[in-house]
């Protein structure tokens, strides 16, 4: 009986193929995904490898391909979390309150370049950069201003900070203490993912070994003291923005995740004590199905590796929760309003891929930091998806799509290929030191650019349907006077604090840093309470650990 069905199907497939080939395909544009995965014209049981129980299973159950919770968006929608930060803590505090008033459910902090690189606002390298791409935070005093009037026991806060993540987390915890919120009630995510900095975003301070130690210190400290905080958000977002393709984003992010797991195991931590608090952060690019496949493959790989390779017993250790942001790199400066459409499609992919939280980019972000108007439209995009489209009514509604399942398999296969190559190079850190990922990304990015320039990939408004005489859109301008104001603030903090206490706290931090077996979070907390600045703490650690410099490749 089954054989007959199969034969009929095969006959049908052959007949379809014969008829398909009588019609010429369109020429010029590629049929492969943005990442270069070849697409068949049709997927069917003929060319899809799928074992339902093995590969998909059930929502909230291993291997979590269909989602991490049994009820997904029927139980609770994703967190709409718009990333914000510019100027000084006062301006950003006002933007936070604006977003909370407009229905946003979580906060997400963007820091400026000097903060990301571990420099105070009055450092020579900070000139011209203070408050430009995010908020400038130099000390606990700025963090107090940033969260003024926002009860930390009631919000969850994400902080996009890596090199000085430990200091910023300590500032946040200190604000919690001042608000009388017990540390165990503080909720949120600190990015902390230094590996992807070496690979892609390039905002590092120290060399990989001490950086990894600091990450493990945070994971260990959070497991004991801040159990609701995600101490690391293992990020593919920046890997994609740096020009990688979807498979590289998937593979390098997961490889980084495994590297953190291994570092924690080396420290002697129990995998089930920390793995449930590891979270992830992915990009949502324009190739709709490829993106959805990427999220599903990511969940499946993480679950399999955590259970089978790292021996995690607690199902919460197997499940990958992630935040998603739409692709900044896909936004165009030409006809910027069209970016609203791109972002909506990307956001839809993230939702269909089962994201736990989402940031939608604003349409003006290829030009400048977003205006309030643009940010509101970006948030509204998520609200339309959540409340008007109906895609939330059924869990993993695309599960079982022949195309999607085969693409999920393909991305998973490519990821395992990369894991092997990284392993052959000695692991993630040695691979970084050999520029392996950096080269792979540069290669993919150049290939994509070449395809665009040959017209094989169309970008509306850029290489087709261009428009002359575009109307300029209003952009956000950062007042250059803010830099001076912030410089005066940090200098005021240093002048007012108890100098002896600050000095003592810094001395202790340096001493503890020199001893590898000491967790640095408590000394960093102590220094924060003494209003030692982030730059001073980083300088102290630079003295002990040195700094990182990459060999540039292109």
């Amino acid at each position: 009986m089954a054989t007959t069905d199969r034969e009929e199907q095969t006959g049908g497939a052959q007949e379809w193929r014969r008829r398909y080939e009588t019609t010429p395909e369109r020429e010029g544009e590629l049929f492969s995904t943005i990442s270069g995965v070849e697409n068949e014209p049709l997927y069917s049981p003929e060319n899809t490898d799928l074992d339902y129980e093995r590969d998909l299973g059930w929502p909230g159950a291993y291997p979590f391909t269909r989602g991490v919770y049994p009820s997904m968006y029927r139980g609770r929608l994703w967190t709409m979390r718009q990333f914000a930060g510019f100027g000084t803590a006062e301006e950003t505090n006002a933007r936070f309150r604006y977003l909370l008033e407009h229905g946003q459910t979580g906060l997400s902090t963007a820091f400026d370049m000097p903060t990301l690189m571990g420099y105070d606002s009055d450092h020579a390298r900070s000139l011209g950069e203070v408050g430009r791409e995010g908020v400038a935070i130099d000390s606990l005093a700025d963090m107090e201003t940033l969260f003024a009037g926002i009860p930390l026991g009631e919000v969850s806060t994400s902080m996009t900070i890596n090199g000085p993540a430990a200091m910023l987390l300590a500032f946040y915890a200190c604000v919690g203490e001042e608000q009388d919120v017990p540390l165990e009630r503080l909720r949120g995510t600190v990015q902390t993912d230094i590996l992807k900095e070496y690979i892609a975003q390039k905002e590092w301070i120290f060399p990989p070994a001490p950086s990894m130690r600091l990450v493990v210190d945070m994971i260990e400290w959070c497991a004991e003291r801040l159990p609701l905080m995600h101490p690391v958000s293992i990020s593919g977002y920046h890997i994609r923005e740096a020009g990688s393709n979807a498979a590289q984003e998937l593979a390098f992010t997961l490889a980084d995740g495994f590297a953190y797991v291994e570092a924690c195991l080396e420290r002697g931590l129990d995998v089930d004590a920390f793995a449930p608090r590891l979270s992830f952060f992915f990009n949502a690019h324009l190739d709709f199905f490829e993106e959805i496949a990427k999220y599903r493959a990511a969940r499946r790989i993480w679950a399999r590796q955590l259970r089978d390779k790292y021996g995690a017993q607690d199902p919460r250790s197997w499940l990958m929760r992630f935040h998603t942001q739409t692709a900044g790199v896909s936004l165009t400066a030409q006809q910027p309003e069209v970016n609203l459409i791109r972002t909506a499609i990307e956001a839809l992919a993230a939702v269909l891929g089962g994201t736990q939280s989402l940031h939608t980019n604003s349409f003006d972000e290829a030009l400048a930091l977003p205006t309030e108007h643009a940010v509101r439209l970006a948030l509204r995009t998520q609200q339309v998806i959540a409340h008007e489209t109906g895609v939330v009514n059924t869990i993993d509604p695309l599960g079982g799509s022949y195309y999607l399942e085969q693409l999920t398999n393909e991305l998973e296969r490519q990821a395992y290929d990369y894991f092997e190559r990284i392993e052959e190079l000695g692991g993630v850190v040695p691979a970084i030191e050999q520029n392996f990922m950096q080269r792979e990304i540069a290669e993919a990015s150049f290939r994509y650019q070449s395809e665009v320039e040959r017209g094989e990939r169309v970008i509306v408004g850029v290489n087709r349907y261009e428009q002359q005489d575009e109307q300029p859109v209003e952009i956000l301008r950062i007042d250059p006077a803010l830099e001076q104001k912030q410089i005066e603030r940090v200098q005021g903090v240093r002048a007012r604090r108890d100098a002896a206490a600050a000095e003592a706290a810094l001395t202790r931090l340096k001493e503890d840093a020199a001893h590898e077996d000491r967790n640095l979070m408590e000394p960093i907390m102590a220094a924060s309470r003494a209003y030692v600045t982030m730059g001073e703490m980083c300088d102290a650690l630079r003295d002990v650990w040195g700094t990182w410099r990459e060999t540039p490749v292109f």
Binding site: M113, P114, L116, M117, Y119, R125, S126, L127, G128, E129, R132, E133, E197, A200, Q201, K202, E203, E241, A242, G243, V329, L331, T332, A333, Q334, A366, L367, A368, L369, A442, S445, F446, Q449, E453, I459, V462, N463, P472, I475, I478, P480, R549, E550, T551, P552, F554
Partner: protein, 131 residues
């Protein structure tokens, strides 16, 4: 002109967005130019020193940190102070139109925003260096 065009591709400031710089560096190299890529986080002083040491015909500055109105004028000033008058300076990144006009007034030969094709930049540099 005789010999290959020598271009320093430079990343001033603190931002680590090097996708554009690397694509341009490679496109210029593929177009037959001699390309020196400085790597990230360069100070204006370091960039000017590299330009002088490498006897560059052109300097391409890639910047996405919003600090262009501080760092680019500083690079131009340092080039002049060091008596380097004949180097073609071009800038790429997210530069608002008003700022681009201002930079051209200060002596930047070309400003290229997001989406500019690499071929346009190659042709521009060939023309500007030959002139």
């Amino acid at each position: 002109m005789a010999g290959k065009i020598r271009v320093v591709v430079a990343k001033p400031g603190l931002d680590g967005h090097d996708r554009g710089a690397k694509i341009i560096a490679r496109a210029l190299r593929d177009a037959g130019m001699e390309v020196i890529y400085t790597g990230l986080h360069q100070t204006p002083e370091q960039i000017v020193e590299t330009a002088i040491q490498e006897d560059a015909d052109a300097v391409g500055i890639s910047i996405l940190s919003g600090a262009h109105m501080t760092l680019v004028p500083r690079i131009l000033e340092l080039l002049r102070e060091n008596g380097v008058e004949d180097v073609v300076v071009v800038v790429g990144g997210t530069i608002p139109d008003d700022d681009a006009d201002e930079l051209r007034k200060l002596g930047v030969a070309g400003v290229f925003g997001p989406g500019a094709p690499t071929t346009e930049i190659v042709d521009f540099l060939k023309g500007a260096v030959a002139a």
